[in-house]
Structures are given as C-alpha cells and as structure tokens.
C-alpha cells in the first residue's frame, strides 16, 4: 500500500455495479452519474440512504488508489457541465485509446492534439489536420480515411467537432491533462483561475492571461464591471452564465419522457 493517509474504503456490490456500468461509458455527465448511483442502490440495497455522490465516489477512489486509477470529476470547457471519467493515474500515455486505434490512427490524433494545443482558439481545422496525413507513422493513410478516423474519435468522445474544426472532448482533457502538461510544457495554456489545462477559453487582450468559460462565469458572476484579475483592464468578452443543473433538468423534463443513458448524446 502507498503511504497514503486516506483510510481505505470498502467495496460493496452497490459500488461494484456502479463501477462496472460507469466503465461502459467513456465519460458521463453528473446528472446521469447520480441516476446510475440511485439505480445501483435500488438493485442491492433498497432501504439504505443514498450516499452523497462526492462521498460515494471518494470511497470508491480510495479503493482504486492501489490500482492507480480514479474516477475524476471535471467540467466541460464550453458550458461548464460537470463530467466524470475513470482515468489512469500512473502512465502518462493513452492506454485506453491504444487498444481501439491503429498506430497511424494514434499518430493522427497526436498531430491533431498538437495543432489544437498550438492554436489560439483551441480548435484545429479539418484541413490543417488532413494536410499532415503524409507525415503519419505506420501504414499510409489517405485523406478520405483520415476523415473517417477523425469521426471515430468524435464518436468515442476524444474529440469534439464544431463547423469543420476539432477540439478536445472533456474526456480527453480529463484523461490526458497530466500527459499533455508533461509533454508540451511550454505550449500549454493554463487557466488563471483554476490553474488547470486550458484548451478553449477567453483571454485578456491587454496582458494575455486566459480563463475557462465556466471559470469566467463563476468569477464574474453578478459583477457589472468585469475586470481582468491580473492587469485590471476591462474584460471585453461576453460573460457566460453559470451552469445550473436544476434549470437544465427542468427544460429536459418538459421536452421528453425519461430517456435512457444510451440514447443521450453528450
């Protein structure tokens, strides 16, 4: 056991079923995670009070510690939704991805990743990525094929596509933040508020510091005159709203009946 001060938790079938089902999703939104938790309690322990999600997950993580994996919580960069993924703590590479993709496909991802990190907006255009197809390691790949591979990355929630441009999915950031910060320490952008890796965000036009959209939303909440936390200059961008899970659910319930997690697109 590691020299950890955290007392090791106990796994019950509730936790095991939760973990099994969580693993079938690459990443899951908090609302769905809570639903999943309630389902597992219902199956094994109807009368027990459902643990607070944070405690529930901390308990599981204390057991996962010896396996160098953990259920990590993050927030989507575009609209601040809380998400969860099971991530690897030990290796700094993408072992999960490596089993689903061939050598040239992985290299394509790496090229896209480098373009994304290097870009000003956090997005890399499809054209720019496809132009690098000749430089890929492994079997030769045509542009048409590369387009499909990029779609495969979108389907598996490693990349997000918006109007022909690609950025990292929240899942990829959760899984690979450590790897990215270690591999590209001079090129990565960091959020001035939360100090985590930043791919998409807003930046101060005077001093250049950057902030995640959800961090901007929280920091400038109900502030009539938003100013840069670093240089105090007027913050010129539109301040997004803080993500409100209650409001989100209300509109969801009005729209449709209970949907299964399978049909939900993240």
């Amino acid at each position: 056991m590691q020299g950890s001060t955290r007392r090791m938790g106990v796994m019950t079938d509730v936790h095991r079923r939760f973990l099994q089902l969580l693993m079938t999703h690459g990443v899951l939104e908090e609302w769905d995670v809570k639903r999943l938790q309630r389902h597992c309690y219902k199956v094994h322990d109807r009368n027990a009070t459902v643990d607070k999600l944070e405690d529930f997950i901390n308990n599981i993580n204390s057991v996962l510690e010896s396996l160098y994996i953990e259920i990590k919580r993050g927030v989507t960069e575009d609209d601040g939704r809380p998400i969860y993924a099971l991530v690897n703590l030990a290796t700094t590479s993408i072992s999960k991805m490596a089993t689903d993709f061939a050598e040239n496909e992985l290299d394509l991802f790496r090229k896209a990743l480098e373009l994304i990190i290097d870009s000003e907006t956090g997005f890399a255009s499809s054209t720019n990525i496809l132009n690098l197809v000749d430089q890929l390691k492994g079997k030769k790949m045509r542009k048409k094929e590369a387009e499909q591979v990029l779609q495969k990355y979108v389907q598996n929630k490693w990349l997000i596509e918006k109007e022909g441009e690609f950025t990292l999915h929240g899942r990829a950031i959760l899984e690979m933040e450590q790897y990215i910060r270690e591999t590209y320490p001079d090129a990565v952008k960091i959020c001035n508020i939360c100090h985590s890796l930043l791919i998409q965000g807003q930046s101060c036009e005077t001093c250049g510091i950057r902030m995640h959209l959800p961090c901007v939303a929280k920091y400038f909440q109900s502030n009539a005159e938003p100013r840069c936390p670093h240089c105090n200059d007027y913050w010129p961008h539109e301040i997004p709203k803080v993500f409100d899970p209650e409001k989100e659910r209300e509109s969801g319930v009005l729209k449709s009946n209970k949907k299964s997690l399978r049909s939900r697109q993240h």
Binding site: M1, Q2, G3, M11, D13, R16, R17, L19, Q20, L21, M23, T24, H25, G26, L28, R35, L36, H39, K42, V43, V63, L64, S66, L67, Y68, I69, N88, A90, T91, T92, S93, I94, S95, K96, A98, T99, E103, L106, R110, E114, I117, D118, K137, E182, T183, Y184, P185, D186, A187, S260, L261, R262
Partner: protein, 291 residues
C-alpha cells in the same frame, strides 16, 4: 511554434514515448531484468536486510522496499486494466498476449501478479478471472453480479447479449438436444424475420453475428458436418456460454418466451437439474496458471 517532444530535456527519448503512446505505456517493462530480480527478492523475504547481494547499492532498505512495492502495484494495475479492456471486446485473453504486452521482464513472478490481479478484479469490480477451458491458457472475466434488466438502460455500450439473438440461438441449441444444424437455425429465425442474407434493423448482419462474432467470442461452436452436400454446419454451445450462463437459465428463458413453465419440457428440465447439481459441486481448479 510548438515545442516538439523530441527537443524536450526529458530522460526518455522520442522512440520510447512513441512506444508508450501506441502500446499503452509500460513504465516498468522498459528497464532491464535487474528490476525484476530485485522485485523477486522483495517477494521472497519478509524482513528487510542491509545486504541484498552484489550490485544493489544506493537507497536504504526502507526506500528500496517501498519502491519495489510500488513497482509491483503498478504491474498489477497494468494487468488489471489490460484484462478489463480486452474482456470488454469479449475476446478471450491469451496468456501469451498477457506475457508479451504487460508482464515483459517480470515473467518470473507472473503467477503472483496474476493472482493479485484476479483478487483485485473480484474485490473491486466484481469480475471473476477464469480459464476458458482447462489447460487452454486463455481467460475471460465472468460477472459475479447478476445482470438486471434496468442495467441495459444504464450502459454506454451493448453489453453481453443476455436477451436477443444469442439467447434465442442458445435456447434453440439446448432444446434440440445440445446440437442443431445451421439450416434448422435459419428455418426458425426466418419465422422471426431474421434472414442470413438480409440486413436486419437491430442485428445488422445476422449471419456474421451468429457464424463469426458469437463463435469468436466463444459463445458458440460452429463445425462443418462431414459428407454433407450441400455443405451444412452444426452449432453447439461454446465454452464461454457454460461459464456465463447455465442450462437452467436458458430453459427458464425459453419457458418465459412461451409463457410456460420450465417443467413443461421434462427431458430438458431433468438435464438442466443435473447440470445445476454438477455446478454446485466444488470445482478443483482456480484461476492461477499452471507454471
């Protein structure tokens, strides 16, 4: 311009990172057998000793012991993740693959790593690591948690086909005396609107599913019947089916579909009962490999 990894002052070169990238990272295996020997020594002795043999100087016995323990944990972790990922695709995992992709230089302590991984898989995830058939050196994970209908809604993937085409075929095989001709399977499935040559809305390519995918996943055995013209094949249950379900469970499924009681098929019911008794008897072999 983006600082490329090869210019980094990191100790590992580009080549090793490439290897990490595509082979899922192997923090321990890239080192020489030296580590493996030190690790093995750590296993054998309980009390720390100040002299651990030639050539192993440097860190205190305390520090070395902790480092060994961590190396061991990392290896077990890799093995657990490897098995989980491989099993998700429902392809039995070959011992040779485990040795090649995960164990590497730690071959000597493979049985111990294996045992620890099996224990973790059971305690943490609720999966039992079992050998597909005795002496086959291939393994699968069996879920010790009973699947529940609502699980299907909560999944992010297809899951094991507990209901659906596979169950129907398994039911057919059992009810027909544990073996059935392929032509008979299609005669039956046609009545449900499932054809070997036509794309199906839910099952996609039923012929491929039944004769290839389910066979590869070891749910079914598919053998050519000799001296048949035109060529015909026969289906039987595969080794995975016997591990993941049982004759009684399949009989209950068939009964449910017909809205009847399993006892309405006395011959099959007796056979299923006998199978249950067999399973209740304690099994001799555990998951650990023989050498």
């Amino acid at each position: 311009m983006l600082q490329k990894p090869r210019n980094r002052g990191r100790s590992s070169g580009q080549a090793e990172r490439d290897r990490d990238w595509s082979h899922g990272g192997n923090p321990g295996a890239s080192r020489a057998g030296e580590d493996a020997r030190v690790l093995r020594d750590g296993f054998a002795e309980e009390a720390p000793s100040t002299s651990r043999g030639p050539g192993v100087a440097g860190p205190s016995p305390q520090g070395a012991r902790r480092a060994q323990a961590k190396q061991l944990e990392l290896k077990v972790s890799e093995l657990v993740q490897f098995l989980l990922i491989k099993d998700q695709k429902k392809i039995p995992i070959k011992r040779a693959d485990i040795l090649k992709h995960v164990i590497g230089d730690y071959k000597d302590i493979f049985p111990d790593l294996f045992k620890r991984a099996a224990e973790r898989l059971q305690y943490v995830f609720g999966y039992k690591l079992v050998e597909l058939e005795p002496k086959s050196n291939t393994y699968i994970l069996i879920n010790t948690l009973e699947p529940v209908e609502e699980d299907a809604e909560m999944r992010g993937d297809q899951g094991t086909p507990t209901t659906g085409l596979l169950m129907i075929v398994l039911g057919l095989i059992f009810m027909k005396g544990n073996t059935i001709k392929e032509t008979e399977v299609w005669d039956f499935l046609r009545r449900l609107g499932v054809y070997p040559t036509k794309k199906h809305l839910i099952f996609g390519d039923p012929k491929k599913l039944i004769t290839e995918d389910f066979v590869r996943q070891r749910y079914l055995e598919y053998r050519r019947i000799p001296h048949t013209d035109p060529v015909d094949y026969e289906f039987q249950w595969g080794p995975r089916t016997n591990l993941e379900t049982s004759k009684m469970k399949v009989l209950k499924f068939v009964a449910k579909v017909h809205n009847q009681d399993p006892k309405d098929w006395p011959a099959q019911y007796c056979e299923a009962l006998a199978d249950e008794e067999n399973r209740a008897r304690p099994q001799p072999s555990g998951p650990a490999p023989s050498s």
